[in-house]
């Protein structure tokens, strides 16, 4: 009895003390909180308020009744989504387009940076880099303008050349057979140069003695790349591939949005464009929010598991 009273008293006084230091700490750091506040406010308003808005995925949301007045429907929107043939089409398109892009963006920048690294003429190398980085900074709007005018069925460059050789004029962008290839190729064109940066940095960190030793052992350029350079940059490659696997549902919204048309919905419509069309343009707010939530949720599961995987492989994770 006596002992327990003492403990209570001790607990009491220590919590009072820690309360006092808490207030002291808060007062000491008041200006830090002041600095934090506006940024935190923007994050809460523009990132967290929309997360609250997700509740409309479980409603039959009516914009005039608002979140409070709209009817709750449980998982009806999701069951509508999963029963819709659209869903399998957009999921397939999203995954296929981003897998194709991943395959290209994984392999080509590695090869390019190996070759770039062999350019010994400093000025030539610098000019090359400046030029192949450039498309990364050009907006997709401008890029889509270039693509549309090159592929124009009337007088686009490709069709002009094809007709010189007696080929028929084709509407490439309106053709399901070509659309995905156009997406992948134009994405490579725009981002491949930029993709070399990280590899080049990793390559420049390779110990020059290793190449010398390999040469003495009679290894030619190709064997040096294979046995020295590639193993040295392997950790970077693994991390980048794993990270892009986490983004498998990001098929490139802006690019598809700017290039697609109803003619190629069957091969080009992805989750993001579907959510925009059905949700914003056709004002099916609840249904489109459910589709968006499906995507955000899968993406979160992917990135969390990928981070685990990276950590298990002994590397530093994202957090």
């Amino acid at each position: 009895m006596e002992a327990s009273r003492e403990t209570t008293a001790a607990v009491h006084s220590s919590s009072v003390a820690s309360g006092r230091t808490l207030w002291k700490d808060l007062a000491r750091d008041r200006y830090l909180y002041l600095l934090l506040l506006p940024g935190l406010f923007l994050i809460l308003l523009f990132r967290y308020a929309p997360m609250y808005g997700i509740v409309i995925a479980f409603q039959d949301f009516n914009i005039f009744k608002g979140v409070k007045g709209s009817e709750w429907v449980g998982f009806d929107q999701f069951s509508r989504l999963f029963h819709s043939p659209d869903f399998y089409e957009i999921l397939r398109n999203t995954v296929l387009i981003s897998l194709y892009k991943l395959a290209a963006s994984f392999s080509i920048p590695i090869i390019l940076s190996l070759l770039l690294n062999e350019l010994k003429h400093v000025l030539f190398k610098r000019v090359t880099q400046s030029i192949i980085y450039l498309p990364h900074f050009v907006s997709w709007v401008i890029f889509s303008g270039i693509i549309i005018s090159f592929l124009n069925p009337v007088d686009g460059l490709f069709n002009m050349i094809a007709s010189q050789f007696g080929g028929a004029k084709t509407d490439y962008l309106g053709s399901s057979a070509y659309f995905r290839s156009i997406l992948v190729l134009s994405d490579i064109y725009k981002e491949v140069g930029w993709g070399t940066i990280i590899y080049l940095a990793a390559i420049s960190g390779v110990n020059a003695d290793l190449y010398e030793a390999a040469r003495i052992d009679g290894a030619n350029k190709g064997r040096q790349m294979w046995h020295v350079t590639l193993p040295a940059i392997r950790p970077v490659i693994i991390i980048l591939v794993i990270l892009s696997l986490a983004n498998i549902l990001e098929a490139g919204f802006q690019q598809v949005f700017l290039l697609y048309s109803p003619l190629v919905y069957d091969v080009g419509d992805i989750i993001d464009t579907y959510v925009y069309r059905v949700g914003i343009q056709e004002a099916n707010y609840s249904y489109a929010t459910a589709a968006g939530l499906f995507k955000s949720f899968v993406a979160m599961v992917l990135i969390v598991s990928v981070n685990k995987l990276v950590k298990m492989s002994g590397q530093d994770g994202l957090w």
Binding site: G53, L134, F137, I148, P153, I198, F257, S296
Partner: protein, 291 residues
């Protein structure tokens, strides 16, 4: 050590390869410049693949008289300057606060920032929020939602961590508070990372068109890229609707104007490109070391 014959051959082929690659990368831009400078009368016959067919600045005259392009420049300019100023400043203040390990609740704040990288509310709730806030057709809608992001905050935070504590302690001895330390010591030491993050943000705003798609129902509030998108896709829609037999003359004029519009709107990015490239490469590397 001399090069073997195989190595020499490889080297020659390698230079050749990159020369071709550079030409491929530059050609579309060259083609557009030549197209835009061509005389509309000759454009129909092609022939401006390497040099302009005829010569005319009429397309540029038309572009510079185009009210919607000028409006687009204004809207984009205001949102880029506003967004970059607000975004860079608030990224720095937020990052500075959560870089201090002594700050109570730091883990909670850092987690709140981190979690936005993992999960988001999605397009429709974000759109409804802006509607609810009555921000449709305002600059606020074009500027505020994208102003600060988790990635930039973490990059900046790791930079601030590298600034020696002693500087802060010395200033505190002299009676400085956290605000003075931040503005007088930390910010001046962080010019490089501020420039890098600022440029990341600025390029994002300059190239943004989707905020206008969502939040600008009034054409007066269209960003430049949105105006361009409209200009580009209108012709292609016109072609799609009319089949392939659209009247040649008018379509050709639209072509040179389209090319000239694209070029005029790319000029600002190209002017700052050397600067951009330097800081972006730096930024990409900070990010990768951090990541």
């Amino acid at each position: 050590m001399g090069l073997t014959r195989g190595e020499k051959a490889f080297s020659v082929l390698n230079y050749l390869f990159f020369t071709v690659l550079m030409i491929v990368m530059i050609y579309p831009f060259w083609y557009m410049v030549m197209g835009s400078l061509s005389d509309p009368i000759y454009v129909a016959d092609g022939g401006f693949f390497l040099k302009p067919a005829g010569f005319s600045l009429s397309a540029y005259e038309a572009v510079l008289k185009n009210v919607s392009i000028l409006t687009g420049f204004r809207v984009t300019f205001i949102s880029t300057v506003g967004g970059t100023a607000i975004g860079t400043f608030l990224t720095a203040t937020t990052a500075y606060a959560i870089s201090k390990r002594r700050l109570r609740g730091r883990m909670v704040f850092a987690f709140l920032v981190l979690f936005t990288m993992l999960f988001n509310g999605g397009l429709v709730p974000s759109y409804l929020l802006i509607k609810e806030l009555n921000m449709i057709n305002t600059y606020w809608a074009l500027i505020l939602p994208a102003a600060i992001g988790a990635w930039n905050i973490f990059v900046m935070q790791s930079f601030f961590r590298g600034i020696p504590e002693e500087l802060e302690e010395a200033a505190k001895m002299d009676g400085a508070n956290d605000l003075t330390v931040f503005f007088r010591i930390v910010l001046p030491l962080s010019k490089a990372v501020l420039a890098t993050i600022g440029l990341f943000i600025a390029v994002w705003y300059w190239n943004d068109f989707f905020s206008s798609v969502l939040y600008s129902t009034d054409k007066e509030m269209w960003q430049l890229q949105m105006v361009l998108k409209d200009l580009i896709s209108n012709t292609s829609n016109a072609i799609a609707q009319a089949g392939i037999s659209i009247s040649y003359q008018s379509e050709v004029n639209e072509f040179t104007i389209k090319m000239a519009s694209i070029i005029v709107s790319s000029v600002p990015i190209l002017l700052v490109y050397p600067f951009l490239q330097k800081h972006f490469v730096k930024g990409a590397l900070i990010g990768s070391v951090k990541g």
